[in-house]
């Protein structure tokens, strides 16, 4: 008998939306949280716009030790996990801890703090033989990317399978997909799944400057992220974290939990094409969509909403439009497809999980979030991108897709319970 996987809690730290209510309010209002970078002095950089979180760890319930030892992106995950567990109504202390797992993604992990301490150790880049006496404490926990899942597992007493996933910008979708597999296959009953990244630092901004992947639209920070719009000129770097409580459906039903939706399917493929480049055809993303739908036993005509990767680079939005049309056929033209990156930016590995949380809310509340800033159509992007205004409509099956450096192409299908 197949084990089904329910979403019973969600938590989020997003730009302009710390906590589920603020996040949903931002999305449904179509407000943008992109602004000039404040986290460091970005005056010497090509792209000076970002989507930053106004995050107060203490206000989010983190304790002094977590604040002292956990890196910013880990704190996002801790806050989101606490919110998700609270919302799920689970008493994790009463669960078998060996059946509780954690699966979290991050694209760049602790690079922000690693860079900060590098500057100290190298006397601002002046020496290769860095001085170990100048760095701050707990740097080893920053260096190890698994610190992310480890911190969250320790906070919630999880003793089951605990993993950190790092597949670039599909990390969040993949971490949720693997968590889904681990419950389906019987390795765990409950998994805290999601992702976090806090990449707004000089080295990350500079490396995206170097490949002109980020926007140069510094004069209009609020309007800088323009997915699918003909004027788009690159993505806006973001940060944040999101965690979902995934739970075996019968386990959730036995305790009378509210089931927000089910994870129905997941698939990921490599494009074997280029580390950053995308084909114009979108064959591999299309295959991920097809497999995820098949896994969920959903026909393509049942897809009610596509949450796009929609990063706002020229090539991505074209690639993705082609992939969705290849998979959904004529139905693609009738299906709303929006990019919340227009509002919360692109937080690399975290964004996939943030988008799955957005999809969960969309399903539960019957509202499709819009693509903000969308005004000028691009002939190569000819689908319904839900311009600027959220749309109320009943939803039963939604698809979230992602694409990442390294060639990763992933898709997750969420369904209302009973939709299969």
């Amino acid at each position: 008998m197949t084990r089904r996987v329910a979403v019973t809690g969600i938590g989020i730290v997003a730009p302009g939306g710390v906590g589920v209510p603020a996040f949903w309010d931002l999305l449904t209002a179509g407000r943008t949280a992109t602004r000039g970078i404040t986290l460091f002095d970005a005056s010497g950089y090509r792209s000076r716009v970002a989507a930053e979180c106004d995050f107060d760890p203490a206000a989010c319930g983190l304790d002094d030790e977590q604040i002292a030892t956990a890196d910013r992106y880990v704190q996002f995950a801790l806050a989101a996990a606490a919110e998700a567990v609270r919302a799920s109504g689970l008493d994790l202390a009463a669960e078998d801890p060996w059946r509780v797992g954690v699966s979290l993604g991050s694209a760049v992990g602790g690079t922000t703090r690693l860079e900060h301490d590098y500057v100290l150790a190298s006397a601002s880049g002046s020496r290769w033989d860095v001085d170990h006496r100048r760095v701050g404490p707990h740097l080893e926990r920053v260096f190890a990317p698994s610190t992310l899942a480890s911190h969250v597992a320790e906070a919630h007493g999880a003793h089951g399978p605990v993993q950190t996933v790092s597949t670039g910008c599909t990390s969040g979708l993949d971490a949720i997909g693997y968590a889904f597999h681990s419950i389906e296959e019987g390795r765990a009953d409950i998994v805290l799944a999601g992702a976090a990244d806090s990449p707004i630092s000089p080295i990350t901004v500079a490396c995206f400057d170097a490949i002109k992947a980020t926007t140069a639209n510094n004069d209009d920070p609020a309007g800088a992220s323009r997915p699918f719009d003909a004027r788009r000129d690159g993505f806006v770097l973001g940060e944040g974290g999101a965690v979902l409580v995934l739970e075996e459906l019968e386990h959730a039903r036995r305790r009378g939990a509210e089931v927000l939706c089910e994870v129905g399917g997941f698939a990921t493929f490599g494009n074997a094409y280029h580390m950053t480049g995308l084909t114009t055809e979108g064959l591999e993303m299309s295959r991920a969509i097809d497999e995820a739908l098949a896994h969920a036993r959903a026909d393509r005509t049942e897809v009610d909403y596509v949450n796009a990767h929609g990063s706002g680079t020229k090539q991505n939005d074209r690639h993705e439009t082609a992939a969705v049309k290849r998979s959904l056929g004529e139905h693609a033209y009738e299906t709303p497809m929006s990019s919340i990156k227009s509002m919360v930016g692109h937080s690399l590995g975290a964004i996939g999980a943030i988008e799955v949380v957005a999809c969960t809310l969309a399903l539960a509340r019957g509202v499709v979030p819009p693509t903000a800033n969308y005004e000028v159509p691009d002939p190569e992007c000819d689908l319904d991108y839900v311009p600027r205004t959220a749309r109320e409509m009943p939803l039963r099956t939604v698809l979230s897709v992602g694409s990442g450096f390294g060639g990763f192409q992933s898709a997750v299908v969420l369904r209302r319970t009973g939709a299969r």
Partner: protein, 84 residues
Amino acid sequence: MEPLLTFAELASLMSSRAGVAIDAAELERRSDSAFTELGLDSLGLLGIVGELENRHGSVPSGAEMCRTPREFVELVNQSMPAGA
């Protein structure tokens, strides 16, 4: 006037910035081949543009979109006379 960028210099940049070994004479002979056929990907060309920007202050826009060595060398030399 000396051109700002010669095929020899471009060959040297392809090697140092992208690890693509090609000798100057061959690059000049194959200057109408696509960069990708010569083993240089889009990131490699961006790296070369970045290096020229750092040396000369600026490089004409669109340089990173050039398909072939000849297009690239001509664009850079037309828009940026030596000594500029």
